[in-house]
């Protein structure tokens, strides 16, 4: 029998992605761009929140958006014309964005002059957790229509969040949302995260979300 050699490697499986993410983060820091990775299940209201955010903030802060979806550029179309630079990435079946996809998107978008870059990840509460995109903060959305125990069911992603946004709060009463139970689940699973309740439709709570963002932006250059 042929002799076998045991070789210790001990390196991250996603080392390639991690290196690209580190390069992106260095670019963001050099150019004074604050980068957010926005994640949620499909339909939690990522695009609606961003539509409203761009409308309200793009006049004050130069914003770029990278939108990831499995297919179609419908979301980018919704976000255009609101004063921000927007580029769509279609992952062609991939369940999450990877750092090299963001790199390619940024080649098209350009970082010059931006102070805020928002990456809207593919709608998925599991897969995006694994891939660093070079972001400075992670925002995880969950809507009142999804059930109070969503964080308990998908703890892995919630445990990486810097901010959890409870969305569609305008529907809370209609769906008999048990607010205390939901907030207890978020705070239990993700004690590291800030928590805000918002409605992109009525504007409720949005000012606090904008304040959260403004506090993290680098000074204008």
């Amino acid at each position: 029998m042929e002799e076998r050699k045991i070789v210790d490697i001990a390196q991250a499986v996603l080392a390639e992605n991690d290196r690209m993410a580190a390069t992106l983060r260095a670019d963001f820091d050099r150019l004074g761009v604050f980068c957010l990775n926005v994640m949620s299940s499909p339909g939690a209201g990522k695009t609606a929140l961003l539509e409203r955010t761009l409308s309200d903030l793009a006049g004050e802060v130069p914003i770029g958006v990278v939108v990831g979806d499995l297919a179609t550029d419908n979301d980018a179309a919704r976000l255009r014309g609101k004063g921000a630079r927007v580029v769509q990435v279609t992952t062609d079946g991939y369940c999450h964005l990877e750092a090299n996809m963001v790199r390619a998107a940024l080649d098209a978008l350009g970082l010059d002059g931006l102070r805020l870059l928002i990456v809207e990840n593919v709608g998925n509460l599991v897969c995006p957790a694994t891939h660093d995109l070079g972001e400075h903060a992670r925002v995880v959305l969950f809507s009142v229509t999804e059930g109070e125990d969503k964080p308990l069911k998908y703890p892995t992603l919630f445990k990486t969040a810097d901010l959890v946004l409870v969305t569609k709060i305008d529907l809370a009463e209609a769906v008999e949302f048990r607010r205390d139970e939901a907030l207890e689940a978020v705070r239990g699973v993700a004690p590291q995260a800030d928590v805000l309740e918002v409605s992109a439709k009525t504007g409720l709570g949005l000012e606090r979300w904008y304040e959260w963002l403004r506090r993290r932006l680098q000074p204008e250059r």
């Binding site: 001990a10 991250a12 390639e16 990877e98 308990l152 445990k159 689940a185 239990g188 699973v189």
Partner: protein, 128 residues
């Protein structure tokens, strides 16, 4: 064509995420094997934390597929599971949480300090 969902195992669609991660592991292993002049990878060992965001069973399902046509074709995948450990800031003690809320067994406060369990590591290969 109908989705492939073999009974008792994860379906191919469900494993898309793990296919890409498995492929990254095999690429890294191949690079190391070539560097050392190995002809074939016989065993590939991964360390996967409970919080890594991948399903080990799906990795095992994807593995033979992504190995095709590589130096790892026909090799064996071995997975070491790494449990979550966290630190209670109040009690200054490490513990292994039992549920999604990482409540300290002594004081009951949820811990935000994860010490281990996020590993997704190519640990070792056996070369021929």
């Amino acid at each position: 064509m109908a989705p492939v969902t073999p009974s008792g195992g994860p379906g191919l669609q469900w494993a898309v995420h793990e296919v890409s991660i498995c492929a990254a592991a095999v690429r890294a292993a191949e690079a190391k094997a070539r560097e050392l002049g190995g002809r074939r990878i016989a065993v590939l060992r991964l360390r996967i934390g409970a919080l890594a965001g991948v399903v080990p069973e799906a990795m095992e399902f994807a593995y033979p597929v992504v190995c095709r046509g590589t130096l790892a074709e026909g090799s064996r995948l071995e997975v070491e599971h790494v449990p979550v450990r966290c630190l209670c800031a109040s009690c200054e003690a490490e513990f292994e949480p039992k549920a999604a809320v990482y409540a300290c067994p002594t004081c009951g406060r949820p811990s935000a300090k994860i010490v281990s369990g996020r590993e997704l590591e190519l640990a070792q290969i056996e070369l021929e």
